[in-house]
C-alpha cells in the first residue's frame, strides 16, 4: 500500500533552478541530451554527471525524488549491461565464464557506459519536470516553438494539449490508486496468494480504470470550459516568463558543455 506520496512530479520550492525561464530550461535540457548522445568517452560522461549533480543540488529537490525515475528503468539498465557484457564465443579477455557464456571486460565497460548514459538522461530530464510546473512548461514550449506559428501550426493548443497529457499521467496513477483503495475498503485483497491470484485481483481494477479515465478526461474538459478556457491565445499566466541575463548565461554554459563533450571529449 502506498503511503500517500505526492504523485505530481513538480516540487514547489524556491530555488535558482526553479527561477530559470522554462524556455531556457528546455534549451539546456536539449543541449544536455544531445551532449549525452555525442559524448563518446568516460571523461565526457563524467563532465555531464557533474552537471547533473550540481543541477540537482542547486534545485534543492530531495535526491530520492530525482532518482525516482531511475527505479522505473532499472530493468532496462540491467538488460543493457548484460546485453553488452555477455558474449557467446570466447571473448578476448573473459572475466567470468558460465558454460558457453562469457563476460567480457570491454563489453562490461560499454554496458556500464550505456547504463550511466540512461541514468543521466532520466535524472537530467526529470530535473526539468521537478522544477517546472506543467503550466509553466507548456508556456515555455509555446514560446520556443512560437516561430512555427508562421507556418500556421497551432502552437498554443498543442502546448496546452501537452500540459493536459502531462497532467493526466499522475491522474492515471491516482485513479488506479483510488480504485484499489476503494476496493480494499470493501474487502478486496491485492497482496495475497500466488501470482495468478494476484493478477486476478487486478482485473476488477483495470476495467473501471479504463472507463473512469474517459470520464475524468471529460470532467477535465468541462472544468476547463466552465473556467473560460478557449485556447491559449490571449491567455495570461501567473508567472510571466521572460529570458533574463541569468537565463542567457545558463544557456551559454550549457552550449559550452555541449561543445566540450561533443568535440573535445
Amino acid at each position: 500500500m502506498r503511503r500517500g506520496v505526492g504523485l505530481g512530479n513538480y516540487i514547489a520550492v524556491d530555488s535558482p533552478v526553479h527561477a530559470l525561464d522554462p524556455a531556457a530550461k528546455l534549451g539546456i535540457v536539449s543541449a544536455f541530451t544531445v551532449g549525452l548522445f555525442t559524448a563518446g568517452t568516460f571523461p565526457g560522461l563524467t563532465l555531464l554527471a557533474v552537471t547533473v549533480i550540481v543541477g540537482t543540488l542547486a534545485a534543492s529537490v530531495p535526491i530520492s525524488a530525482a532518482l525516482r525515475g531511475v527505479r522505473t528503468v532499472s530493468l532496462i539498465l540491467v538488460l543493457t549491461i548484460l546485453a553488452n557484457a555477455l558474449r557467446w564465443e570466447p571473448a578476448t579477455v573473459a572475466l567470468v565464464r558460465v558454460g558457453p557464456l562469457a563476460v567480457d571486460g570491454e563489453g562490461l565497460a560499454s554496458g556500464v557506459f550505456f547504463a550511466v548514459r540512461i541514468v543521466l538522461l532520466v535524472v537530467g530530464t526529470s530535473l526539468l519536470t521537478l522544477t517546472t510546473s506543467p503550466v509553466e512548461l507548456a508556456g515555455g514550449i509555446e514560446r520556443v516553438f512560437a516561430p512555427l506559428r508562421w507556418l500556421r501550426v497551432p502552437v498554443g493548443d498543442l502546448a496546452m494539449t501537452l500540459t493536459i497529457a502531462l497532467r493526466f499521467i499522475p491522474t492515471t496513477v491516482e485513479e488506479a490508486d483510488r480504485i484499489m483503495t476503494a476496493q480494499t475498503a470493501r474487502g478486496a485483497r491485492f497482496d495475497r496468494g500466488g501470482p495468478i491470484a494476484r493478477a486476478r485481483a487486478y482485473a476488477p481494477v483495470l476495467v473501471p480504470l479504463f472507463f473512469n479515465l474517459f470520464r475524468r478526461a471529460d470532467e477535465l474538459a468541462t472544468a476547463m470550459e466552465a473556467r473560460c478556457y478557449r485556447g491559449s491565445d490571449g491567455r495570461t499566466q501567473l508567472r510571466e516568463s521572460r529570458m533574463r541575463p541569468a537565463d542567457w548565461a545558463s544557456l551559454l554554459v550549457a552550449g559550452i558543455l555541449l561543445i566540450a563533450t561533443g568535440v573535445a571529449l
Binding site: M1, R3, G4, V5, G6, I11, A12, V13, S60, V61, P62, S64, A65, R178, I179, T181, A182, Q183, T184, A185, R186, G187, A188, R189, R192, P204, V205, P208, F211, N212, R215
Partner: protein
C-alpha cells in the same frame, strides 16, 4: 474487543520537501456498541485518522489493533470485513458500472453470496429505491444520492466497526434522519466513529468525543466534559460549537446565567428564559 489506535502519527509525502505531519500522536479507541464523534477544523487530520483506523493508511508511528490483532505479519488481514469506512467524498468510493454492483461488491467479497440481497436492503436503508437506482451509474447521481449510495456500500458489509467521514454532508433532512437511524441500528452490534463538522447532529449519539487540532488531540472525553470545556476549545480555535450552544456560552459570558450549556434546545430555552432580565 475494540478498535484501538495507540499514539499514532502520520506524515504525508515523507522524504520530499512537501512532507506534511498530519497526525502527531493520537490515542483513541472504540468498542462495539459505542459511538465516538471526531470533531476539528478543516485540515486537522480527521480523515487521515479514519483512514488509518480503516487500515487504508499505515501509520508512520504507533499501533493499530482490531480486537487485539495488529496487521503485522499475520496471514489474515484483521481489518478486512471487520472495519468499514465510508469515504468523505462519495465519488472517490465508486468503481463499478452500476450502483447495484457497487454496493454488492463488499458483501460478495466477504463471502456473503452474490451480495444482491445485502445490497438491496442497504439501499432501502439509505432511502434509495433499488428499482430506481440499482441500474444507474454511480457517477451520474446527484450529490446527495451519491452520498447515500456510498453509505449503502459500507452498511451492506455490516462491519463490526463502522467509520463514517462526514456522513451527512450534502444530505437533505430525510437523509439526515436516515443516517441517524442507520447509526442507531448499527450500534446494537457495532462500534461507530463519526467524523463531522455538524456536532449538533451527532453529539446526542456520542459516548465519547475527540477534538483534533493540527494533528493532535485538543480534547478527548465525554460530551458533558466537552460542553464544560467549550469556552477554552473555542478560544483556542479547536472547535466552534453549534450556534445554540454558543448562545448559552455567550449568555454565561455576559453573566446572565451560570449553568453549563446543554444540547437539548428545549431545555436550553427554559434555562435561558429563567435567567435574569429576558425581554
Amino acid at each position: 474487543m475494540a478498535l484501538t489506535l495507540t499514539d499514532v502519527a502520520f506524515d504525508y509525502a515523507v522524504g520530499t520537501s512537501l512532507a506534511q505531519p498530519a497526525l502527531r500522536g493520537v490515542t483513541f479507541s472504540v468498542a462495539p456498541g459505542e459511538c465516538v464523534v471526531v470533531l476539528g477544523p478543516s485540515g486537522s487530520g480527521k480523515t487521515t485518522l479514519l483512514r488509518i483506523a480503516g487500515g487504508l493508511l499505515i501509520p508512520s508511528r504507533g499501533d493499530v489493533t482490531v480486537d487485539g490483532m495488529s496487521r503485522g505479519a499475520r496471514r489474515v488481514d484483521p481489518f478486512r470485513g471487520a472495519v468499514g469506512l465510508a469515504f468523505q467524498r462519495p465519488e472517490a468510493q465508486f468503481f463499478a458500472a452500476t450502483v447495484g454492483e457497487d454496493v454488492a461488491f463488499g458483501p460478495r467479497n466477504l463471502g456473503n453470496g452474490d451480495g444482491a440481497a445485502a445490497a438491496e436492503s442497504a439501499l432501502e436503508l439509505v432511502g434509495l429505491s433499488p428499482g430506481d437506482f440499482a441500474e444507474r451509474s454511480p457517477f451520474t447521481l446527484s450529490g446527495g444520492e451519491a452520498r447515500r449510495a456510498a453509505l449503502a456500500g459500507i452498511l451492506a458489509m455490516s462491519p463490526r466497526y463502522l467509520l463514517l467521514d462526514e456522513p451527512t454532508s450534502g444530505l437533505d433532512a430525510a437523509g439526515h434522519r436516515a443516517v441517524s437511524e442507520a447509526i442507531a441500528r448499527a450500534r446494537a452490534t457495532a462500534g461507530v466513529v463519526v467524523v463531522t463538522h455538524d456536532a449538533a447532529e451527532f453529539l446526542d449519539h456520542a459516548d465519547r468525543v475527540l477534538v483534533l487540532q493540527e494533528g493532535a488531540a485538543a480534547f478527548s472525553g465525554s460530551v458533558r466534559d466537552l460542553l464544560a470545556d467549550a469556552d477554552r476549545l473555542e478560544a483556542g480555535g479547536a472547535w466552534v460549537p453549534p450556534e445554540h450552544v454558543r448562545a448559552q456560552l455567550l449568555a454565561r459570558r455576559l453573566g446572565r446565567t451560570t449553568s453549563p450549556p446543554v444540547l437539548d434546545p428545549g431545555e436550553a430555552a427554559r434555562i435561558l428564559f429563567a435567567s435574569g432580565g429576558v425581554t
